[in-house]
């Protein structure tokens, strides 16, 4: 019972944060509300009995992707914020609101059919590792090859540019 109440609180907080994210006119507050949404998604992963993915979500999304967005927000010029609600009340944006609401109702209709209370199976990290590195090893190899090739290319490009600009090498 406590678990149900906690889950409903998480859904409510997510809803309020998403609405706030869309409506607020200050981009840094939008990033803060996105952080709240990502933390709520991590809590939803914890409710589904996979703390591994909850922590990966927190470390990667809330720890790194939000930092990237904050850097992007703070390093770009933005014009003085006009009223976002007035912007959102134009005909074009109202059409989009209707579209998003219809999309949400469609998903709700699909989810209403899945009412069986299912116990959430625990998948241990060993099983995840087995499936990732044995069954899905093709994807892992492809990603590794891509990252390796792009890293070598990036190092080559940077060293060529540095050699063209000056000959000094800073640091250790």
């Amino acid at each position: 019972m406590i678990v149900d109440v906690a889950y409903y609180i998480i859904v409510l907080v997510t809803l309020l944060s998403v609405v706030g994210f869309v409506v607020t006119k200050d981009i840094v507050r939008a990033a803060g509300l996105l952080l709240v949404v990502l933390a709520c998604v991590a809590a939803a992963f914890a409710f589904m009995n996979s703390l591994l993915l909850a922590m990966i979500q927190l470390m990667v999304y809330a720890g790194a992707v939000i930092v990237i967005f904050l850097f992007g927000v703070m390093l770009t010029r933005r014009e003085a914020p006009t009223s976002r609600l007035r912007q959102l009340a134009s005909y074009e944006n109202l059409t989009y609101l209707v579209f998003a609401a219809l999309l949400f109702l469609l998903i709700l209709r699909a989810s209403a059919g899945l009412t069986s209370p299912l116990g959430y199976a625990y998948v241990s990290p060993q099983l995840v590792a087995t499936s990732l590195y044995v069954q899905l090893r093709g994807v892992v190899y492809a990603l590794a090859a891509l990252i390796g090739a792009s890293s070598i290319g990036a190092i080559y490009v940077v060293r060529k540019e540095k050699k063209q600009s000056d000959g000094t090498r800073g640091g250790v």
Partner: protein
């Protein structure tokens, strides 16, 4: 006779009610961590002072022990201001978030195997701190690694450009040193074959401590931990003799107390993770209970960190970035690749379980 029955009744009631047990464990862990942080703060001031040939606090309390309480009261009675250009919501929330995240990373560190010794006639031993869940190392590290976010929001929220730049520099340092931290503890995960901190400590019960088996990982983890905790030689972002305080310049009074406290709780958490991963956690010979062993090892590790702080000068920012990206990442990555071979050799000679 009556008190014996009541005590047993209370223990049985606690054990039958899961949420009450979690609450009790949380309260006891909170008390232990707070005491640990206060002891650490005291050691920081006295030990650093003695290395510098001065005495440190001696007036308040018998050897300056109550100085910390005096400082806390001083911070608490100051005026609660906020800069005019600040974003008040984020400015007020950042210290709270900082303390929450620092305490949350201590959820996953197993403090003790059993506290049966505290209840002389207990029926079943209570397993202390339910930290025997599978990704507990990721939980401990994940909350620890939410710091760049706090630093960026804190630096921006005060509304000035110097705190913002200080926030960027701190975030750059913290993000750069997360990678060698993760690669170092991955070597330990390969040796122990589990992400569970409880299991990692249990593996060290039957084998050599991982500080010996994964020695390069131990060194890179310690250096990366120094940079993650923003301690000298890596405290260039809050160099308090040069800049004022980096990202937390505009925080005063209670908010600064919370930020400062969260720094030392993170130091306790980082030292506890280092002790659990590399030095064997609560393992130790019999007469000292396991909880005190963990505490003792954490305090000794923190004393070594204070010693390093007193002895080394500060690095520049380009030296710090070069050390992180050019030296620590290749060393820890190469050691991670070599770890399975080391594990195989160690298993053949009985040095690993």
């Amino acid at each position: 006779m009556n008190t014996q029955i009541t005590l047993t009744g209370i223990i049985v009631f606690i054990e039958r009610n899961v949420y009450l047990r979690f609450l009790l464990v949380a309260i006891v862990a909170f008390i232990i961590v707070s005491i640990g942080s206060l002891i650490e703060l005291y050691i920081e001031r006295k030990f650093w002072a003695r290395i510098m040939s001065r005495y440190g606090p001696t007036e308040v309390g018998k050897f300056g022990t109550l100085q910390l309480i005096a400082d806390a009261v001083k911070f608490l009675v100051k005026e609660d201001f906020s800069p005019a250009a600040a974003d008040k919501t984020i400015y007020n929330l950042v210290p709270v978030f900082s303390v929450t995240v620092s305490f949350a990373s201590l959820l996953a560190i197993p403090f003790d195997y059993t506290v049966a010794s505290l209840f002389p006639s207990s029926l079943h031993p209570l397993t202390f701190v339910a930290s025997n869940f599978d990704p507990s190392l990721l939980v401990a590290f994940g909350f620890f690694a939410l710091e760049p976010l706090i630093v960026l929001f804190g630096g921006w929220a005060a509304g000035g450009k110097y705190t913002l730049i200080g926030g960027f520099r701190s975030a750059a340092q913290l993000i750069s040193y997360e990678i060698p931290l993760v690669l170092s503890f991955l070597s330990v995960v390969v040796l122990a074959q589990s992400l569970n901190l409880f299991q990692i400590i249990q593996t060290q019960a039957h084998s050599w401590p991982f500080a010996v088996l994964a020695f390069p990982a131990f060194i890179t983890f310690t250096v990366a931990l120094l940079a993650e905790l923003e301690r000298t030689p890596f405290d260039l972002t809050e160099a308090d003799t040069e800049l004022v305080s980096g990202w937390n310049t505009e925080y005063g009074g209670t908010k600064f107390l919370l930020v400062y406290l969260s720094e030392y709780i993170r130091a306790f958490a980082g030292s506890a993770i280092l002790v659990s991963l590399f030095l064997g956690g609560w393992l130790g010979p019999a007469p000292i209970p396991p909880l005190i062993w963990l505490f003792l090892k954490t305090i000794i590790v923190f004393t070594v960190l204070v010693w390093i702080r007193a002895a080394y000068p500060r690095v520049r920012i380009d030296q710090m970035l070069a050390l992180g990206w050019r030296i620590l990442i290749p060393v820890s990555a190469v050691w991670l690749i070599l770890t399975p071979f080391v594990a195989h050799v160690a298993m053949m000679h009985g040095a690993l379980a």
